[in-house]
Every structure is written in C-alpha cells, then in structure tokens.
C-alpha cells in the first residue's frame, strides 16, 4: 500500500535554530532517506520550504485567484512529504516513528486512495 507521511511542525523563526542543530537535523534526514531507500520502500521524499514561500491557487469561486501565503494559518505547518510503498499501516507507523520530524513535530500517516502510475490512476 502507498502511504504519505506528512510532517507537520511549528515553523522556527529566523535564527531560532543554531547552525549545529540544523547540521544535526540534516544528518538525521540523510540517514533516514538512505534507510528508506535501502529498504526499497521510498517513492518520493520532499522537505518543504517554510509556508511563507507558499502561493495558494484556486478557481472554485469562478475565476482564478492566486493568494500570497497558505490557505489557512495554523500553528503547525506542513513541512514535508514522504511517499512510501509498504505492506501495511504498522510498517508505515514504524517508518513515521523513525522520521526525524517526529522528534519535534507530528507525522500524519495517510494511505493513498489512488495514484497516477504508468499512465493511469490506480483503482
């Protein structure tokens, strides 16, 4: 089954996190990525820019609306997306537990409903 691990955490302010802490986190994410890859479960991994870099696009009110910033301001913002292919929820929870982001935020484990694979949506 495909699962998205959605990392959420409070976005740190400018200079709030020391250089050493950043280096440590990057190292942890490096090890995590390699572990996912060598287990053969990784489909994609993206750590996102802060929500200040977000642009929101919608056409649901008729015409195109492009908005500066996220759709809704929340305390904890979406910070990264890992898409995995693992046998079941327990395996996905196991990987979420190992995700460095779980140390300072929460990881939402969401099964994929359908994915575009080999030219078509899976059913």
């Amino acid at each position: 089954m495909r699962y998205a691990l959605l990392m959420h955490y409070r976005e740190p302010g400018e200079g709030e996190i020391s250089e050493e802490a950043i280096a440590e986190a990057m190292q942890a994410f490096g090890a995590y990525g390699r572990a996912l890859e060598s287990a053969g479960v990784l489909l994609s991994a993206d750590v996102l820019q802060p929500s200040a870099a977000t642009t929101t696009v919608t056409c649901r009110d008729g015409g195109l609306r492009v908005q500066d910033g996220p759709f809704a301001e929340t305390k904890e913002a979406l910070a990264g997306v890992f898409v995995l292919d693992v046998p079941d929820l327990d395996a996905a929870i196991g990987w979420a537990e190992k995700c460095p982001g779980a140390q300072w935020g929460v990881i939402e484990v969401r099964p994929t409903a359908t994915a575009f694979v080999d030219g078509a949506w899976t059913r």
């Binding site: 089954m1 929870i93 078509a120």
Partner: protein, 424 residues
Amino acid sequence: MDALTPAEHSASVAARDSYGRLLALLAASTGDLASAQDALADAFERALGTWPSQGVPGNPDAWLLTVARNRLRDEWKSARAQRSVPIDAARDVLADIDDLDVDAIPDRRLELLLVCAHPAIDRAVRTPLMLNTVLGFTAEQVGRAFSIPTSTMATRLVRAKKRIKATGIPFRLPDRTDLPSRMASVLEAVYGAYVIDWTTGPQDRELPSEALHLAEVLATLVPDDPEAHGLAALIELSAARASARIDPAGEFVPLAEQDPSLWDARLIARAHEHLRAAHAQGQLGRFQLEAAIQAVHCARGSEGTDWPTLLDLHRVLHAVAPSLGSGVALAAVVAEVEGPAAGLASLDALITEAGDRARRFQPAKAVRAHLLDLLGRVDEAIAAYEHAISLTHDPAERRYLSAACSRNSQLRSAQSPQKGRTGT
C-alpha cells in the same frame, strides 16, 4: 428472557468459537471485515437452509469456510471485472483465499483481537468491535450491552471496519518489540467487556458471558501471558458471584452480606487454574493482583475475610497500577483493617490529590458515605449518600444507597427531633 439449557448453551458457545475463527481467516486475506462478515452470514444462512434436510456435514467449519470463501471470491472477481485498471492486490487476495486449507483451520483470532485493539482504532470502539467480530454479536446486542442505541452502535462499528480496511491495519502479529504494548491494549479492551458486565448488572443482561468468553479465548491464544490468565481469573471470580449480588427481590447485596453458597464453585475452580498458570510465569501484573484480591474475597471462610492479606494486595496493586479505582478500594480495605477513620483519611487524601475527577467518581462517593456512616457523622453521611446516589446508574445499587441514606435521616430526626422543623 428464557434461560438456555446446557446443550443450547454449549451449542451457542461452539457457534461463537467458529464465528470468530472463520471471520479471522476470511478477513485476514482481504482486510475487509464487513464483506467477510457478509459472506460468513450468508454461509450460516445457507447452513440453516440445507443442514436440516441434508444432514450436518462432517466438518461444519470447513463447510462454512468453503461457502463463505466462494462467495468472497465471486465478489472479488466481479469487482475486478468492473475495473478498467487491474491491480495486483486483487490477484494476491484471491490467491490467499484459495490457499486456505479448510480441513486444518488455523486460529487467527489473536490477530483479529490485535486489529480490534490497534492504536489507530478509537479506544471507545475497541471492545464493541471485539464483541461484534470475535464473538459475532450483532450491533443490536452490543448496543444493548453498552446502553447505546442500535443505529449509533452500528454506525460506529461500520466506521471502525472501514477504517481498518482503508488504513491498512494488518492481520498479523506485531514485532516482538511492539507485542507487549499491543497485548496491553487487547487486555484493556477485554477488561472493557467485563466492566460493562458490572455496570448494567446481571439482571437485565442478555449476553451474560461475553467478557468471560473473550477472556477465555484470549488465555487460550496466549497461554504464556500471565496477565491474560490473570484477567480470565478476575472475570471468572467476579462472574462466580453474579447470582449472589442481587437477591430474589432484585435488591443489591454488597459483597460482605452475600451468601457464599450461591457462588459458582465451578467458575471459582476454573479461575484458580488460571491463577496457577499465571503464577507459573513468575511475572506480577495488574490483572493478576485484581484476581488475587477477588480470590481472597471468594475464600471467605467461617473466620471471615482475610483483611490483612487483602490490604497487602491492595497496596501492591495501587503501587503497580495506580488509578482512582485502586485508590478507593485501598481506602475501603484500610478502613476494614485500621478502622473507618484511617480509611476516610486515606480516601480524602486520594480525593484531594485527584481533584475534580474524584468528585464525580461514584465508588469514591459511595465508600465515603459508608465510612462517614460508620463514624456516626450523620449529617455528612446523608450529604455524601445523596451525592453518591446522584452518580449511581445501577437501579439495585441506587435503592441500596437510598435505604442507607434514609436510615441516617431517621437517625438524625431521632437524635434531634426539632432539627427537621428549623429553618423557613
């Protein structure tokens, strides 16, 4: 409600055993409890239609499994035919279903219990889910046991089953590192079935043995788990006293006033077997301690209850698994051994520490009223009884507390006849 004859009772127990075993197998291959239940219901219905005329097959479970499996396979095939894009999973699932050996039906009920008590499942629905899937009780029966309308319970069960399938909760044993915490959730949920036994009272129960049965199944499935045996013993010892707990007039009889000859000796003996099996593992736990406490109560002989031993057990229990319930029980036993004043002091310390939660906790209020009553603090006892009554849902226990309360009111009027007439 008509009582079941022993033959009917064993037939219904056997049917429940088969139900859980077959469902665990059928659902494990698809992760879809709802459609497995539909298929199994279909198989049972066809059995009712054909067995009376054609005779019961040599291996009824194998017959049921085959019929249910064929029905599931047909469903998967027609679902797959409608797919524009085939998925590998459908092929795998069919292979899994075909691989089932109907003549050697493995017991996968532990996996099913673990699914029901999975951390991704809402705690409140875990026990109902076990009763519905492992024992095959209907939403109506489970709803009645929990005093929840059938439609509400049915919705909760459907939602939980959808969630199991959608999130991909596996029907397999967890890793060795995860197993202890996952087993703790299973024990907790089985204990949940035992708690509803007590709150609704044995009088109006239609499923008198659901907790008993779940606990027995669990102890069979994990014979090396001392807490599973402890829980089975605890439930059996409590169930053994069920008929003595309500007198012929339907009134609540507290433990100290119960007639031991009404206790079920067979259940008590069975409980002691479980306790021996638990102790052999040499690892103490909450349910074993609670069971040991019940065993001491059930061993009440001509010299009365062994309160000092009970006090030791309650102290250890409150240290191993501290809770409001264990604290209140400890205070009640302190009162028996060291007198009501010491018990009240212990209880009030607990209530102060726990705060609001303790003020709404019925057993705390009921014990407090009883201790004030024993100390002759009539006015406070009346107030405490009234508070306890307002928190009590069991009708027989309400009547018992009301009787104690009015005895104190009469005492107050006798002590100071003019007191009742003062005020405006």
